[in-house]
Amino acid sequence: MTSSDAPAPPSEPPAIDDLPAADERAALAIDPAVTANSLGDYSRATLARIRGGESGALPVIAGLILISILFQSLNSNFLTAGNIVNLLIQGAPFMLLALGETFALLLGEIDLSIGFVAGIGGTIAAELVKESTGWPWWAAVLAGLVACAAIGILQGTIITRLGLPSFVVTLAGLLGWQGVMLLMLGEGGTVPINDQTINDIASRNLAPTTSWIVMLVLVAVFGALVWMRETRRRASGLVAPPVSVTLIKIAAALVAGVVVVLICNTDRGILVPIEGVPWVVLLVLAVLAAWTLLLNRTRFGRYLYAIGGNAEAARRAGVRLSRIRTAAFMLGSFTAGIAGIVLASRLRSVSTALDGGTLVLYAVAAAVIGGTSLFGGRGKAINAVLGGLVIAAIDNGMGLQGYSAAAKYVVTALVLLAAVTIDAVSSRGRVAR
């Protein structure tokens, strides 16, 4: 802004001419990656952003460290390799459900049904791989996922075509799909899974050597993508982060990968050696990568954010709102289906004990704790995974301490409240400016 700009007359409340403040806000809001040309600029801009409250994933990472220190001081078993890997496996369904919930949250909607939709997905897969039915594992899993996606389309269509609030439609889904799940499970109430592959999803590990190779390949792919993207930015004359920042990012990914593999490759068995990266960790990473790509790099993702930010603007820009919304609910339910398969795999069965109500609340909590806004338009796939990790850490840590389920619920509720409060306060700050 030019310095000659005068403040607005007091008679015009909507005028936003507070220029120094506007400039400062702008500085805080911009991703340093697109304004800083040198490492020094970059770190200064990043620090300024963090101080200004635009800290991205930082609070949840800080919270995670805090929780780890707390539980470790209470119980020295918390940060053992075995427990950390256990925590990752326990957290996987939460992370996947939160990834599914993220689609609805980005729209500014909510999907309360995904807990029992996950149950439906698991139940269908379990019923189909039973000896009496005898489907191959992949066909059963596919059928479960397709059914979940169809549920998402159904609910999404009702929400968009009839213009009903997603809260009510998916609340009906929460009740209705629980009923359908109980019907499918029938009198026994439990369908055991004897298929080796499905059970392996949550319990099998990569061999230690394979773990290293897979990790190095993943980091190499990530590094190549980041390197290519930022080199292209630099080449096209746009403001781009310096090479040093690119290298630091890749190095950070490598360090994170090495740490995870080191932890996972530590023998955590009691009687027989158990080591290596669990399959389910790779599964979560794959879903995370796919949804990150979808949300950040495709038109669909862009429209999702646009609808969450200003649906009217998106409509005027020619975005077909109902189609995008329905697709978002479909992807949410589909992701929930993956979570349902993982849950079934971990328990090696599906039973009426599956509590979809708690699961969906944990999913919403995980997404919001991770930094996705309840008010739509703000959030990332990675937030869901980090938030799911927090939920899993609380669950696991309090379990180690021997706290009851009651205490776990209360603490999780408090963490959720804190996260929502931060979300509401920061979004009020954004609106009020």
Partner: protein
Amino acid sequence: MSVDSSVQTTDATAGAAPLLQLSGVEKHFGAVRALNSIDLDLPAGQVTALAGDNGAGKSVLIKCIAGIHTPDAGEIRFDGRPVHIRTPRDASALGIETVHQDLALADNLDIVQNMFLGRERLRHLMLDENSMEQAANDTLASLSVTTVRSVRQPVQSLSGGQRQSVAIAKAVLWNSKLVIMDEPTAALGVAQTTMVLDLVRRLADRGLAVLIVSHNMNDVFQIADRIAVLYLGRMVAVRPAAEMDRQIVVDLMTTGASTRTNGGESP
């Protein structure tokens, strides 16, 4: 108050065919005649201000041009050809862009994302951010919008004038020929209003036709080459701004006629 005779007044650009010509455009809503045989020419390279009291039909008229309403009768010619503008997409395809009063920007998206919303460029099926960012930079630079720090900052962090500039730049990005603006300076402070009006002027200087709806007489006389006045759904005057003054416009807006003279005479 015969309407039609007064409308066909001379323009500064007499000779060149106007970019958009409305003749006899009517719009009814039930028994209500919102627009009554409207004739209006919008020449390229000129700013036409559309004045009128509340309920005079300004919004209905711009919605007819923008494809939100379809006229019940009358003809619209664009570049000399008769056209039917049935949807906002039709309007965009012709090169007619509208900057709405509420701007229709998504706060959570950055400037580039807003400017390309609905028309993103793709490269290997993925969004081509670099090319879009360069185009946004170029457009803003060509309009001399230099006050934004980065086209990658979210719109929420912009001031009111900057938002308006982004909304206008968004309209210009698409090789548009006619830009319609609804109260672009409402809710802006003095300096920001000047900034936006300068921008509007630059659009006309680039050869675009601009139709600007405004209540603010200061703005109208500062920016407009021609002034069109609507009164109860009828076009009571379309004249060069130099032939009008405030009192004439206010008289026309409130009574549909003016006895004052300032170079030209209303019926």
